[in-house]
């Protein structure tokens, strides 16, 4: 088990946001976190990454307690893409090379430059290399940010709504990349998703959060009309389309 989240509890001031959250992720697995706005999805991601300091519970990465790791060690194991990225005045190459920060001393090494070059090629970003990131479209930016997290060479990838601002083609492209790298590099990916159908199409497992607690977790079979209704308050039908369940909301 590469990532195990055990009984995590977190409160903002005195408001509990996460309660007793448990789940495990294997190498190469893609897990989608579902739930309404404010159900604690982003908070959970930040706890795993130790950006937020949780009081209760235990998070283990490769059988090591994340709390006892140094900041730099966490950064070498976990790549994180937040919900929104700021567009600094840096080139794409610089912005991706930055993912090598946890391995750098004074400056980037030849190896860091080479890895950056490779990942830009893999994600078809070469021609953007010297473009400034504040000139990119939403889809391009998302790929750049993903490239940065991948060049970090992480064991675990945490992605907070990676497709939320993207058009259909870019949504599919980004999800394909995520699934591909998870399988090839044996990375455990935890992805916060709002689009249930996109999640169903690409994920191996699902964790549904409701009011900071796990409401359901498991494979595709847990996505039932009842669960969706309980989670989102929307009546749906689930059809099977070419082997993939398709969630269709009933008229509202």
């Amino acid at each position: 088990m590469i990532l195990s989240v055990e009984k995590i509890g977190f409160s903002y001031k005195n408001n509990p946001v996460l309660l007793d959250v448990n789940f495990k992720v294997k190498k190469g697995e893609l897990v989608s976190i579902l739930g309404v706005n404010g159900s604690g999805k982003s908070t959970l991601m930040k706890c795993i990454n130790r950006i937020l300091k949780y009081k209760q519970g235990l998070i283990m990465v490769e059988d090591r307690n994340v709390k006892k790791m140094k900041e730099i060690e966490v950064a070498q194991k976990i790549g994180y893409v937040p919900q929104s990225s700021e567009r600094g005045f840096l080139t794409v190459f610089d912005a991706v090379l930055m993912g090598r920060k946890p391995y750098m001393g004074w400056d980037a090494s030849k190896k860091d430059i080479k890895l950056t070059e490779d990942i830009l090629e893999t994600l078809n970003l070469e021609e953007y290399a010297l473009r400034y990131i504040n000139e990119l479209s939403g889809g391009e930016l998302q790929k750049v940010v993903l490239a940065r997290a991948l060049v970090q060479n992480p064991k675990i990838l945490l992605l907070d709504e990676p497709t939320s601002d993207l058009d259909l083609k870019n949504q599919l492209e980004v999800m394909e990349i995520i699934r591909e790298v998870s399988k090839v590099h044996k990375i455990a990916s935890v992805v916060v998703m709002h689009d249930i159908n996109l999640a169903l199409r690409y994920s191996d497992k699902f964790v549904i959060l409701k009011e900071g607690q796990i409401f359901a977790a498991g494979g595709r079979d847990i996505i039932t009309p009842d669960i969706i209704k309980e989670t989102y308050g929307v009546e749906v039908e689930i059809e099977n389309f070419q082997g993939i369940p398709l969630v269709i909301p009933k008229s509202y």
Binding site: N49, E71, Y80, T116
Partner: protein, 352 residues
């Protein structure tokens, strides 16, 4: 065959260009230094300069070594610090308007230095304008200036902690701190034994003419360690460009990075303020100009802003000496004339 250049090659060329720009700045600096030695009440030829620099018996030697070089060196060192201060503060506070001057930190340092000189007796006040204030105990003066600057920093960091605080609000807090410290300095001067107008000007408009060799050494000693510290953290500052959370996910302790950056920049600003007075705007505008030319990669932005800061301050001072010669203006007046319009320009650009 693939005839297209690889992205790594293109990137290498791109970074080399930035190094070239830094070299270009160094050449401009050398030319400006020669110009600055030449210009003055006694106009020196190139021959006089070379002769005077090498030969202590030459007629121009004492003018060069005792008057012009300390002044030029003070402008270079102070400008260099200011360029670094601006680029680092703008990065750690995520605020394009940040600088020791706009945040009220310089004024805090000025208050501290004034307190040391007037109340603690670390210096004396005179009625001549050029050497209105003599610093007898530079260490105490710098230390007190640093403490004053720290008070300003604490206020700024407290404001920065408030969620969603806009850059403009932080600047307003800076205005408040600046007004408070300036009033404090005025108060001290009002009750000082010799309350000359000249001494008031000392802290309001800084002047590199006040530099004497003793003070200069103290300013120079810290230059290299500070530059090395900032360069070591250049990638940390770069990571902040993508936002606080991204930086943290890359293993950067953003809180300590911010605190250290603010403490070091306030220390260096206390160093210059204690000896030269408050010189505004150079720390604000030099990173802005460099950012437009080479972008926000702090590996290059910090040293080139420092070089540009030195260049701006030296040229401003040379202008201050020659515009209405033989009257010599404090360089702070010249930088304010140049910097204030630029400050307004940045504010207007931010609104869009």
């Amino acid at each position: 065959m693939n005839f297209r250049n690889s992205s790594a090659k293109l990137y290498e060329v791109y970074t080399k260009k930035k190094v070239l720009i830094a070299f270009f700045l160094i050449i401009l600096l050398i030319v400006s230094v020669i110009g600055a030695i030449k210009v003055g009440a006694a106009d020196l030829s190139i021959y006089d300069i070379i002769h005077g620099l090498l030969n202590s018996d030459a007629p121009g030697s004492s003018i060069i070594w005792n008057i012009r070089i300390p002044r030029i060196l003070a402008a270079l060192v102070a400008g260099f610090y200011m360029g670094m201060e601006g680029s680092v503060m703008q990065s750690v506070l995520r605020n394009p308007l940040a600088s020791p001057y706009t945040m009220g930190i310089s004024q805090g340092a000025a208050f501290g230095a004034a307190f040391a000189i007037i109340v603690l007796g670390a210096g004396t006040l005179h009625s001549t304008q050029a050497h209105a204030v003599m610093v007898n105990n530079p260490y105490l003066t710098v230390l007190a200036g640093f403490l004053g600057a720290i008070i300003g920093v604490i206020a700024i960091l407290l404001v920065a902690r408030v969620r969603n605080v806009t850059p403009e609000v932080m600047i307003l807090a800076g205005v408040a701190m600046s007004a408070l410290f300036s009033a404090g300095t005025m108060f001290l001067q009002y009750f000082a034994t010799e309350t000359q107008l000249a001494a008031t000007i000392f802290w309001t408009f800084g002047d590199v003419e006040r530099a004497v060799w003793n003070d200069l050494w103290i300013m120079i000693i810290f230059l290299m360690p500070v530059l090395l510290y900032f360069l070591y953290h250049a990638w940390d500052y770069n990571s902040l460009e993508s936002g606080e959370e991204t930086a943290q996910s890359l293993g950067v302790n953003t809180h300590s990075l911010r605190l250290q950056g603010m403490l070091i920049t306030s220390f260096t600003s206390a160093l210059t303020v204690a000896f030269l007075g408050v010189i505004g705007f150079v720390s604000l505008i030099s990173p802005h100009i460099m950012r437009r030319i080479i972008g926000n990669d702090h590996r290059f932005l910090i040293p080139s802003s420092a070089l540009l800061g030195a260049l701006i301050l030296l040229i401003s001072d040379t202008a201050a000496r020659s515009i209405i010669s033989p009257i010599v203006l404090p360089v702070g007046i010249v930088t304010a004339f140049m910097g204030a319009p630029m400050f307004l320009y940045i504010i207007m650009k931010m609104r869009r």
